[in-house]
Amino acid sequence: MTEEIIIAGFGGQGVLSMGKILAYAGMMQNKEVSWMPSYGPEMRGGTANVTVILSDERISSPILNKFDTAIILNQQSLDKFESSVKKGGILIYDPSGITTHPTRTDINIYTVEAADEAAKQNFKKGFNMYILGAFLKLKPVIEPEFMRKGLEKSLPSRHHHLIPENEKAIERGKEILKAKYIIPTPLN
């Protein structure tokens, strides 16, 4: 199993930390992991993205231009990375603020209204956890007990009391995932 993921959005949306939680959880589950961020001026208020690879084998390149799954949180990132999803791969995005929606017909496209849900639940900081939940619904690469361990490892201990709330958001994310476009199964 190798899962190659790009997570992209604005700086401050929790893009890098979502990737970090995934990487930590993967490591706790004894997988090989890599977490390669974009770094530099764009992190200070512009777009941010991170490539996360989870694998049962030694990871070759931490730097990729084709992904199994793209998790997209703003319009710029959608424009940039829609074409980078492997054929038959998955694109997950939050439609709030998106004006030009994805159009590819050779990938599976899902939406998760995480920003709305986070506002509704009054848990805006948990925005990225709803997204993470939606991803895990589609790709259950991490088992829940290791997800918790990943949260414990990546959050500073002063925030550990928030872990149950984060786990709830992950579960809620699984529920609010919607299929937008699914590649039709060919008729035999």
Partner: protein
Amino acid sequence: MEDIKLMKGNEAIAEGVIRAGCDGYFGYPITPQSEVLEYLMMARTEERTGMVVLQAESEIASIHMVYGGAACGKRVMTSSSSPGISLMQEGISFMAGTELPCLLLNVVRGGPGLGTIQPSQSDYFQAVKGGGHGDYKLIVLAPASVQEMYDFAKLGFDLAFKYRIQVMVLSDGAIGQMMEKVVLDEQIPRQTNEEIIKNYPWVTSGKTPDRERNIITSLDLDPVKQEKINIHLQEKFKKITENEVRFETLMCDDAEYLFVAYGSSARVCQKAIQLGRDKGLKVGLLRPITLFPFPYDEVARLAKQVKGILCVEMSAGQMIEDVRLGVNGVVKVGHFGRLGGIIPAPDEVLNVMEEIFIRENNYGRRTN
């Protein structure tokens, strides 16, 4: 239980030097390696091992603090990124002249000048061919993973003291900034002053009545004496060349086409090999781990086996000169590099290999 952590490359080497019993770090912040200094500051090294961590007023000050620490036989280091390493060259040359051991880390960014903060490999010449003046070499280690960033801390210090030489870890922004799993070792205690005096009789530890004064200087105005010093240095570099070559080969047994790449470019090539093998192309990778001493013999051996060699580096072509020396005209050598902080993509790299060597009618294009 095994101590495993998820760390950035920069953090891993910082933890590595603490655990390798480093006595002192002197540095000045610069992207993309500031995490080294940050991590060491946060790690409360003075409480853990007594290691000194100091932010100097400049890179020039840092390297001369390293000079001073090394003259006392201490395990000392500095780190910087390309423009900062350029500033340090005078001090590095002086340390070469005085044979003072130290660990240097260059987390390379694009140049020349201030360039960019994104990853690059354009400092190969500076690191391998002598960045400062005079006939000298550094041992240059090129990590390709976060684990190697960690491992090369101890290896670097060990080699530095074994040969009384300066060891440079030549990393880049990608390896420095990415996180991977790291297996950590037990803490090695720092050497006591008594151990240092016993192990390194050359240190300036204060003259005792039973021995001559130790003088550390790179100045000798008598050309006959200076030549002797130079010959001694060259003998040392020769010994290192004979004993310390390190490299890794991947899928080379049946390879018909060979990538030669180091650091993050080697990781990209690993993926390119997978993509190539999926297509039925017999591609392999030679990854030099020591850039000095360079694995010329292994290049020569593989050159006789393969039909083409592609050197992949994030520069306009620097390591390719050493690859060509090893190949010695036996087989065609091509080059592919992205510049200015851009990392090549795996399919891009494979495509160039195919374009130059494999697809019909294009044979020999882009080679030189």
